[in-house]
């Protein structure tokens, strides 16, 4: 995706934003400006900036190859799964899995990655929960 496409997306986003702003309901008591005007100004600013980006684009950034992009997508999916699993299976098990996965994908051997995942989870649990008393997610095992 080069800057031209980025500017195009920005323009579409700005248009969507302004359209959404016009649908904001105005109650009968309102100040002179109302809740719509400032968002519309922001949308216009975004549209102008997007146009300027389209007219004078920067050199294309180096996007990662498809394989690496899939890698990033998988990492994001793991983070999403982590967010959902926290209250279900508890902080320590979820963190062991997520940290081990990330460490493995960053180039650690699988066994070492698992050990570092356990270390990260237990370390955070001890420091933040046992010492500092922060509330962490609890699963069926109580950890």
């Amino acid at each position: 995706m080069g800057d031209r496409l980025f500017g195009g997306i920005g323009l579409a986003l700005a248009a969507f934003y302004v359209w959404q702003a016009t649908t904001i309901q105005v109650s009968f008591i309102s100040d002179p400006v109302g809740p719509k005007t400032f968002p519309i100004i922001i949308g216009a600013l975004m549209a102008l900036a997007s146009l300027a980006i389209i007219v004078r684009p920067d050199p294309r950034p180096d996007w990662p190859a498809a394989g690496r992009l899939a890698e990033l997508g998988a990492a994001v999916l793991v983070m999403v799964a982590y967010a959902y699993s926290l209250p279900v299976i508890g902080f320590v098990p979820a963190t062991v899995l997520a940290a081990a996965y990330l460490s493995w994908r960053l180039g650690t051997a699988p066994i070492t990655a698992l050990i570092s995942g356990v270390g990260t989870a237990v370390g955070i649990y001890v420091i933040f929960h046992l010492i500092l008393g922060l509330t962490l997610a609890e699963g069926p095992l109580g950890i």
Binding site: F38, D58, L86, S116, I124, L134
Partner: protein, 513 residues
């Protein structure tokens, strides 16, 4: 004098056992965070805000902890500049010019300690500048009405990219994006939901802490994952020699004029809107080079070339606190994160802060003095230990960063929805960084959007819908002019300045290798 009694009061607030302990922990953690490649002051503080928040510290204590982390990270940032030739953030770029050659000559220990002393000098005198200048600025700020504040916010956005900004269109896009995100949620004045799409979780708006941690910390993890295997500085450590750790008195005396000149330059650059720490260290280095470089030793490991940018950079960081505390308008990325700290503690910076929360302001200033002394005392003997932190490979570090981010956000709200929003911001931050869109205006937009709108609407209510109220006072007109000049100037001179900064970097690099 009034200032001194206030300051004494500040020390009374800051010098409790708990606060000193927090400052010590903050300085220590901050130095480690700053020394780690890939983590700078902004994302270091960003990760720790939610933690300080959910630990239930009171405002002064939390602020002391986090500013200690901020100052510590500024100190720690130079360690990777000198030892690895990797600047942690843009201001540290100038420190690599002479710092890395010194390390290659086996003088890494001296380079580290002299830069520590220079950082101390810069930050120490800049804090005095803050003590005297901020109350003066507060008097000016009391002349500000809603229209003037609206213009001031516009000025902050227009100049945020700074003189070294390369693409103002992208900075403007980022500001609009941040402001747009701030509009999500129930409108404070009329009570109607905006951009919530019927999602109840969005009625409260997007918590800026969630956005900050996602944009700064999680996107860093994604960047590392993307560049895995490119070799991010591991193993380079062996090539440099530490040498002696404590510099000789003659070396300190040799550098003193450079430090003092750079402090003044850096402080002025920090106070000016939009200039910030990058310009501070750049100006300090190039001025010092013009003044002292008689034998052409700059760029080849001249100790003054390490002292000048570090003093300038830290003085600018202190100077940037002046407009942040007195006007509530941050001038740089890191002060924007500190503004987030204040807002998350329900403290609104600005002229009233000095009257309503003198404990917070003067306690913070006293904490800056204490933190500086601690950092100096900690850095000289322990620099070897901090240097060892650089050896932790990112493949172990980055999962920890990600997990601590999740813990921090979950600790505040216990909400899975917030975690998902944070992941979305992580992906957004990664994409924006790839496209060279600056993240700081996004953060500032989310932080200040609602205040900016409230001031606009207040001004318009007073004038009964007459838009000319925005330019009705000379002060407002002046602010608009500065905003326009500040936005247009980088388009004219920005590329040239940025090129010169990088050219200065390239030149000595080629003579070293």
């Amino acid at each position: 004098m009034d200032v001194f009694s206030s300051l004494a009061h500040g020390f009374a607030v800051a010098l409790t056992f708990q606060n000193i302990f927090l400052a010590l922990i903050g300085c220590f953690l901050g130095t480690i965070i700053g020394a780690l490649p890939g983590l700078g002051p902004s994302n270091g503080v960003a990760i720790l805000i939610p933690l300080a928040f959910s630990l239930g510290l009171d405002a002064t204590a939390a602020l002391i902890l986090l500013t200690s982390v901020y100052y510590g990270a500024m100190y720690g940032g130079r360690i990777s500049s000198i030892l690895l030739n990797i600047p942690g953030d843009e201001p540290a770029l100038m420190t690599t010019l002479d710092g890395y050659p010194m390390a290659r000559k086996g003088q890494a220990g001296e380079a580290l300690s002299i830069s520590g002393i220079a950082s101390f000098v810069g930050a120490f005198f800049a804090t005095w500048g803050l003590v005297f200048l901020a109350p003066q600025l507060v008097k000016v700020a009391l002349l500000f009405g809603p229209a003037e504040y609206f213009a001031l916010f516009a000025l902050a956005f227009a100049t945020l990219g700074g003189v070294s900004s390369t693409n103002q269109a992208k900075a403007a896009f980022a500001a609009a994006l941040g402001l747009g995100i701030a509009m999500i949620g129930v409108d404070g004045q009329t009570g109607v939901p905006r951009f919530a799409f019927g999602e109840v979780h969005l009625y409260d708006g997007i918590d800026f802490l969630v956005a900050i941690v996602g944009l700064f910390a999680l996107s860093e993890v994604l960047i590392f994952l993307e560049h895995r295997g490119d070799g991010s500085g591991e193993g380079k450590h062996a090539q440099v020699g530490m040498g002696r750790i404590v510099p000789s008195w003659s070396m300190i005396r040799f550098c003193t004029p450079a430090m003092l000149r750079s402090t003044v330059l850096g402080f002025v650059a920090g106070v000016l809107p939009g200039a910030g720490a990058s310009l501070g260290s750049f100006l300090a280095y190039s001025t010092e080079k013009a003044v002292s470089d008689r034998e052409g030793t700059f760029g080849k490991g001249d100790v003054r070339g390490v002292a000048a940018p570090e003093a300038g950079n830290n003085a600018a960081a202190g100077g940037a606190l002046v407009p942040m505390l007195a006007l509530g308008v941050p001038g740089s990325g890191t002060t924007a994160v500190l503004l987030a700290v204040l807002l998350s503690l329900n403290i609104t910076p600005g002229p009233l802060l000095f009257q309503q929360n003198p404990d917070v302001v003067w306690g913070l200033i006293a904490a800056l003095f204490i933190g500086n002394l601690m950092l100096l005392a900690m850095n000289i003997p322990m620099v070897g230990m901090f240097a060892r932190v650089l050896m932790i490979p990112p493949r172990f570090l980055m999962p920890i960063v990600a997990m601590v981010s999740f813990v921090g956000i979950y600790g505040i709200s216990g909400s899975t929805f917030d975690l998902l929003v944070m992941v979305v911001f992580g992906v957004l931050g990664w994409g924006l960084r790839k496209l060279d869109v600056p993240l700081v205006p996004v953060i500032l937009g989310i932080l200040l959007g609602n205040l900016m709108e409230a001031n606009l609407r207040r001004a318009m209510t007073i004038s009964d819908g007459d838009w000319s109220v925005l330019v009705s006072s000379p002060l407002a007109v002046g602010l608009w002019i500065v905003a326009i000049v500040g936005f247009v100037l980088p388009i004219v001179v920005g590329k040239a300045l940025k090129n010169r900064m990088h050219m200065a970097k390239e030149e000595p690099g080629s003579t070293v290798d």
